[in-house]
């Protein structure tokens, strides 16, 4: 099965709110689960984004934070200005050649496990206008590994929310890069 299908499969066990079974007993219940699932569930619901907005897409990313779209509903509330405290870097904007080493360095400074979202045409492929110029990197994935891509120029805030939820699904399904490395799955 394709990674995409596992993540988007609506009935997937991985997508349930809490991974496990409740066995009702007198005076409460017992939850059974695996420690790995609980860890993934916990991680996916507390992803702290790093504020990394290099151009216009950053404006959309900012608008996802305040009350109208409010990504804290999904566990992304604490946007961090320090890579040491962030879990997910949202590359929102054009990456120029001179910025590329900085992006790599920020990524390296983030603590594991870490995730990358490439937001917008610029971060995916160098952008709608800039992709032939002398100064622009043709996609953030030339510099760091990307987990989720969001098409658009700029993507709507809903698209970013969707990407964040997709990332959560990916983590819960155990399909991020580190998880696959640590625990190879048979597709």
């Amino acid at each position: 099965m394709d990674v995409k299908e596992i993540i988007s499969e609506p009935q997937s066990k991985q997508q349930e709110t809490f991974p496990g079974h409740v066995i009702p007993t007198q005076g409460g219940g017992i939850i059974t689960s695996t420690i790995q699932d609980v860890i993934n569930w916990a991680r996916s619901n507390s992803l702290w984004p790093l504020t990394f907005a290099t151009s216009c897409c950053g404006i959309e990313m900012m608008s996802v934070a305040p009350s109208k779209y409010d990504f804290s509903r999904f566990g992304f509330e604490v946007a961090r200005a320090s890579p040491r405290q962030a879990d997910v870097i949202i590359v929102a904007g054009t990456i120029v050649q001179k910025m590329a080493p900085v992006l790599k360095r920020l990524y390296d400074q983030m603590a594991d496990p870490k995730y990358v979202i490439a937001m917008g045409a610029c971060a995916i492929s160098g952008g709608p206008f800039f992709y032939n110029t002398y100064s622009v990197v043709k996609g953030a994935d030339h510099v760091i590994p990307v987990d989720v891509y969001i098409p658009g120029c700029p993507p709507r805030p809903e698209a970013l929310l969707h990407a964040l939820i997709t990332l959560q699904g990916k983590i819960k399904s155990g399909l991020t890069r580190e998880q696959i490395k640590a625990n190879p799955i048979q597709l």
């Binding site: 050649q97 001179k98 032939n132 110029t133 002398y134 100064s135």
Partner: protein, 176 residues
Amino acid sequence: MDQDYIKQRLIEKFGEAVTGFESPYGMLTFEAPKEMNLKVLQFLYDDEHLKFRFLTDLCAVHYPDNKGRELAIVYLLHNLVDNVRIRFKVFSPINEAGAPYTADIYTATKLFEAANWLERETFDFFGINFVGHPNLKRIMNVEEMDYYPMLKQYPLEDQSRVDKDDEMFGRGGSVI
């Protein structure tokens, strides 16, 4: 302080050397030989009526067909007291391809602190050597870059691409 006055003062001081007076978009523009750039700037700075003491911008333009005058260096000056702006140009021939710099011109950094970064930028994009600049190295582009991207011989975009033809955007184009 109107444009005629500035023009008259400049001609009084420099005579035939200042030429090309015009005022596109209402801003007085003139040019001088490139060896005289500092003299003119200094005069505009020091004169107690002109007082052009703020360098708003400094840039270059490449005119490949303008033989002997391929590069223009443009100074945009502002008199903050009377709120008057002028544009001052010097033209320079371009050096042979392969030379380390495209042109040599005296630096204005002694006169304007602002010229430091602006000249570095102009050097970065056009390869103009500002003689006497304290720290002439690239400021915007990566240091490893070995050409000056704003010169006209480098096309704006890769001309061989077909996926950005105007046809795709519903406005003519070459795809039939």
